[in-house]
Symmetry: C2
Subunit: 134 residues, 2 copies
């Protein structure tokens, strides 16, 4: 029953993701893996990204830009999205899971967790922007 078989394409996808800290999309993964396996199919990339995230080996990030991003770092951490350049950056910060209790205080259902990301302007975009006259 659905024994997982080795696949070099899946390994390549996993290895590629591990080298990246910028949370690439499926298409970016596809474009990069094609340099190693020129005949790989986009469908294979999607299937394996879904499989790996179902297995918990990678994270699927659904941000507000309508495209899924993938992250090889499955430890608890948070993300920042630059609204100027769209880049996704890891944040080093303490857990904010205490907000779950706050959310559950007046709520009759069961709260299991939260999805949180931060947005603003990244360092590079701050520097490249013209000075604001204040």
């Amino acid at each position: 029953m659905a024994t997982l078989k080795y696949s070099r394409q899946r390994e390549a996808i996993k290895e590629f993701l591990a080298t990246r800290k910028d949370h690439p999309t499926a298409d970016v993964v596809y474009q990069n893996i094609r340099e190693i396996y020129p005949h790989i199919s986009l469908g294979t990339v999607y299937r394996n990204l879904t499989l790996l995230s179902d297995l918990g080996e990678i994270l699927r990030l659904r941000l507000s830009d309508g495209v899924d991003h993938f992250d090889a770092d499955t430890s608890l951490h948070y993300h920042f999205i630059c609204k100027d350049c769209g880049s996704v950056i890891d944040l080093e910060m303490d857990s904010i899971d205490h907000i779950n209790a706050s959310a559950g205080r007046n709520f009759p259902g069961q709260i299991d967790g939260n999805v949180t990301y931060f947005y603003g302007t990244c360092k590079d975009c701050l520097l490249s922007k013209p000075m604001e006259i204040s």
Copy 2:
């Protein structure tokens, strides 16, 4: 330049949203408005939902289900998504904007805000589920 003109379709969409607390999708809005304006186009619904959210009169919620939800309540509040039935419910809780400071502590960019929602099982789904044997 681009003076806003009145449209009865847009008014109907706004009024419909104001009567609902369940954050309907564009298609749900479409199906309901059709009872009043049977010839309204889905494109008109999308165009006006986008226009209204650009004007800040409604909120566009991008959750993880791949479909946009819309909310006539533009005041600061948070949402809960039931992972069993998918319903979107308002939470009554204090602001959690203090997490922005926590996120900015070791981050060189500028943090403007956060997107946060909670997930779990709603009251109705808890009740309708078979008892867990513990």
